[in-house]
Symmetry: none
Subunit: 237 residues, 4 copies
DNA sequence: AGCTAAACGAGACGGTACGTCGCGTCTTCAA
DNA sequence: TTGAAGACGCGACGTACCGTCTCGTTTAGCT
């Protein structure tokens, strides 16, 4: 995954990018060694497995997806799956990270609008059946299995963070970011409330929520448009 | 659970209150009928089950706790468990809601301090092995099982929300809450970032985090101390 | 199994005796304890399993019979099988010992005829698809698994031996058995050649074989008819 | 294998004769074509496979020996094995037939002694861990797989039979064999009881058993020493 | 010396069966 | 009617081997 790709981020259900990160998750050793002995892994099997996983994830939800069902649907032996992924978690992460995409990078020149676009994409992702129905199950596995937590952070969280950092970088370049701003906290406070609603309260996620959160963040962190003007001030309280 | 109890809230690992909410979750039918025919339910079995659940939850984590193991450890038949709880979720909720406690209500007269105290209690709860190791699993079940989601919201979320509302009520009475403030959003933006860190990023949770979040919230929502003075302004950015 | 039953012996495909030895093999603890706690084993499941085993044994042969297939055909969970039998071997032994039957005891008063009848029954059993197709597989398992060898000897070999001993007892009573005769060796030399042919050479087994073997045994062991006359002498060499 | 070799027979654990029958079983096509194109089969691989098979056979027993384990221990690809043997059976037969050896031909001039020597060799073979632990498994495969039964009869049974026939031939030449004697039956009745004990009853095999069996056979078949005298008559009954 | 073709090690592949675990329900006997 | 005990049908687990199939790499004999 190139730098540009990372900057573009992901996290919204979008276009499928065949084989992009496949090697990273499912075939770690294949990347470096120029020629391992023995028959090489079959790329078609890899695709079939990931596709089957996506299908089942969408139609059944994480908890009900079984390795057995994935194997059956992919027309593949179970061993072929276990050979590539240690458990359901990493496989699912690879599957959804192919589909999570934050959409094209938006650069409006206005940090409020940029943040709103970013957060709306996050909201859209968490509201989608695929991601929304998968995250809760993944958090479960992540809690006790580092083999799930690691890839999830690398392939889902990191790109999201990178996307936000790009926005903040531009804002800083325009002089709209107070010196010493805790950039990580901005991410936490933008995305956290959405996660809270998605997982815990079950409240409906919509674009308005994103706007309101951004409003408070802009004021709370004293972020300003490029020209240094004070923000117009949200009418929402 | 009385009004006072609710206002007191919960969410910090604390003292065990035997039999407090047990009847609500585990024994709904027992509440009404004053004298049912046949042998009455054995309260000791109830306690043994809940205690076993707490023990296993702490030592193994939600995902690895099974009804079978609980029954074995409690020295109880599985039927006896299913007679009281429809599934693992509600039982676990009862078990942890006994232990979750937000501590005594703090009233400093300063909304910033009140909020910080509140959020620190939340942080402490999510950082504890019991709650921290259980929430992720519960979110999984909540997503697909209303019988888990309902009780969780009633017994864990609602008291937390009530506690915050009490703080905001007092602030409003002192004139420190701008009219039209979205009180629900305050809860989301206070607790959400902590949840995000606990479940997703795995970043360490500490009291400093709570302070920083409160800082931004106070500024973002334009909250003021009782006398109407503007807040001193946090040094943290 | 009563004494009379034992004396009758078995080893020829014959009538099914429902539930006769079932408790001995599949439900060892049930025999003595008057009332074990918990739900008792289901006798219908037991029968269904044994019946399915017999069916598959006949149609596929020992090697191709799997626990999974038995469970499926019996409409039973695999655990239900493993709860009663430690492995395929003992189950198969129970199944065939129900069907192995040496037929009614023959008492002609002539030891030659008695032995011939006995050996013909053995030949018939080993020539049948059920027993003939099962013994080789069982010998395999017996060699390394005492849980197979024990029951096989108890339920298949012992009755056969008992049947022969009854014949020899009668002969001895008539004075037709030289003193000091090695009775065990008679069994070995009667049945051994038949087993050798069945398992190793694959030569066809027929009634003539039994006659010829008995001929040589009678002469070799100097067995005589009741009246003490010397045997007429077989024409076969 | 030459005629002399066959007459010598086998069936007792003995000296290893490298490469004797290897070509017959493992490399059938190599025998005729004087020069096939391509890389020739590697004789070291052949040996390594057979050696590994013998080792595993001795230490684990037929049933637990897998092609995979043989390949691993021989440091050889599975393909290399399947290229030479169609399945485990023929390979095992080749392995044990290397080790089975009836010892040097004995010619005492006394048929009783010749037969006893012969049968003692058979007993020794079946009592050895290698052969004794392998035969039961082989009988299983033989029952359903002609590719196992054929070679077994050719390489194990036939030499044994030939050895016995040579003894009988000599006896006949001395006039000690009644005309019309069923020579095959003698083999059956000599070896059968030993097999029966080895596979079924598990009774200990010893030299005494061989003596007793021969005793009864000599009397039963009316075999005589060269000079036509009646046998001395065994004291054993 | 180069070419061809099979053999070789390694190991991936689609399968089948294994024996185990936990589910939620049921059936027994004893309070 | 409750309770402990445990059997029941079921579904999935992760593993072991099967026999087959690629791979890249020898290793010969024949040009």
């Amino acid at each position: 995954m190139g730098r540009a790709d990372e900057a573009e981020g992901n996290l919204a259900p979008g276009n499928l990018r065949p084989g992009s990160q496949a090697e990273r998750l499912g075939d770690p050793p294949a990347t470096e060694s120029p020629a391992r002995p023995g028959r090489p892994r079959d790329a078609r099997a890899h695709r079939a497995i990931v596709d089957a996983t996506i299908h089942l994830l969408t139609s059944q939800g994480y908890a009900k997806v079984t390795i057995e069902a994935i194997a059956a649907r992919a027309g593949v032996g179970k061993t072929t799956i276990y050979r590539r992924w240690s458990s359901k978690g990493p496989l699912v992460i690879e599957a959804i990270s192919e589909l999570i995409h934050l959409g094209p990078m938006v650069d409006t020149g206005d940090i409020r609008k940029d943040l709103a676009a970013f957060l709306k994409a996050v909201v859209a992702a968490l509201a989608s059946p695929l991601v929304g129905g998968t995250i809760p199950g993944l958090t479960n596995d992540m809690a006790f299995d580092p083999e799930v937590a690691g890839p999830f952070r690398d392939f889902v969280v990191a790109p999201t963070r990178a996307r936000l950092q790009a926005i903040l970088d531009r804002a800083a370049a325009r002089g709209g970011l107070p010196p010493g701003t805790d950039r990580e906290l901005i991410l936490d406070m933008l995305v956290g409330p959405v996660l809270w609603r998605a997982l815990i309260t079950g409240t409906r996620l919509d674009a308005g929520l994103a706007e309101h959160i951004v409003d408070k963040i802009v004021r709370g962190f004293d972020l300003r448009p490029a020209n240094g003007h004070l923000p117009a001030g949200g009418s929402h309280n």
